[in-house]
Symmetry: C2
Amino acid sequence: VPARPHTSNAALVAAARAIVRADGVEALTMQRVAQAVGVRAPSLYKRVEDRAALVRLVADEVAAELTDELDAAAARQRPDQALRALLEAFRRFARAHPKEYALLFDPRPGGTSTAARERSSATVLRVVGELVGADEVLPAARTVVAWASGFLAMELAGAFQLGGDVDEAWRYGLDHLVGALGGRQR
Amino acid sequence: VPARPHTSNAALVAAARAIVRADGVEALTMQRVAQAVGVRAPSLYKRVEDRAALVRLVADEVAAELTDELDAAAARQRPDQALRALLEAFRRFARAHPKEYALLFDPRPGGTSTAARERSSATVLRVVGELVGADEVLPAARTVVAWASGFLAMELAGAFQLGGDVDEAWRYGLDHLVGALGGRQR
DNA sequence: ACCTGAACACCGTTCAAGT
DNA sequence: ACCTGAACACCGTTCAAGT
């Protein structure tokens, strides 16, 4: 007598993501996911290799959404405005979904799949490339992403502890960085 | 009959740090520290509040060493050269002690004490302040630290996967950032 | 075909009992 | 004063047994 499924892969990922959204990756335990979908923990291994694979599924979903928002925001005419809009969208997403965003830049088990990484890289490379040209696009994109991800890691961790206006610091970095990459001319 | 100590606080921190250096924070378990200093895990709680406190002790030690190296490197005449030297020292330290460095920018339990944070902030603020002036020092320092820490988080995580020269990307960011903050005009 | 309880090897932490 | 074994409440994961 074959047993009927009590859950589905989609329900698994949805439950896992809800836990990450609420309490962060470290709260994503197999037992908690199992409880959320109405089975016992060992049953999850019928649907997913291990915990790291489940984390990866959530990370890929989040990465896809982030990429969509970056794409939409960067649909501007002038390259410097497109880059500014992309970076603003990046920060908006990170602040709106802090725990899910943190997942994307977490080096531990899980991490984003290479496919998801490539898709989001493509958007940034296109926008930065239009601003600085093909010769410099790779180092320029790395500079921009390093700054933005570093800034948000610190902002979300509450690492800006010396007072002052965090929005002002973001704007300052954005202005100087986009300016240095060629946003001044034209 | 009072029992004689089998270990010391210093030995505890030294053992904990050796584990972090070798295998990263996630390998720092109470049992492994206990084994390294020759006692059982429960005994550690006579010397340290809990695991997070032990992590913090290691982080503070690492932060102090990093600050020393930043201070030494930034002892230059021209502000732009001092900032460049400080950032090069930052990257050198991170690459020489990747696991210990990662501890400093890890938001999880532990983290650096506020005292250690203030000491390293002071160095960066002084150097950046000499370059951009008092008005802009806070946002400028945040821009620089965000970029450098973001870059190293990605470099150490192996997140630069599109090929190209990582050293070139670092130099590109350094040049454009220091340039944008006033390093052009001498 | 899927779900389960029981088990294993780990965690951090507490605490009464030893010396 | 310090150390210990035993215990508790967790983890992830495996697997034989159920339906």
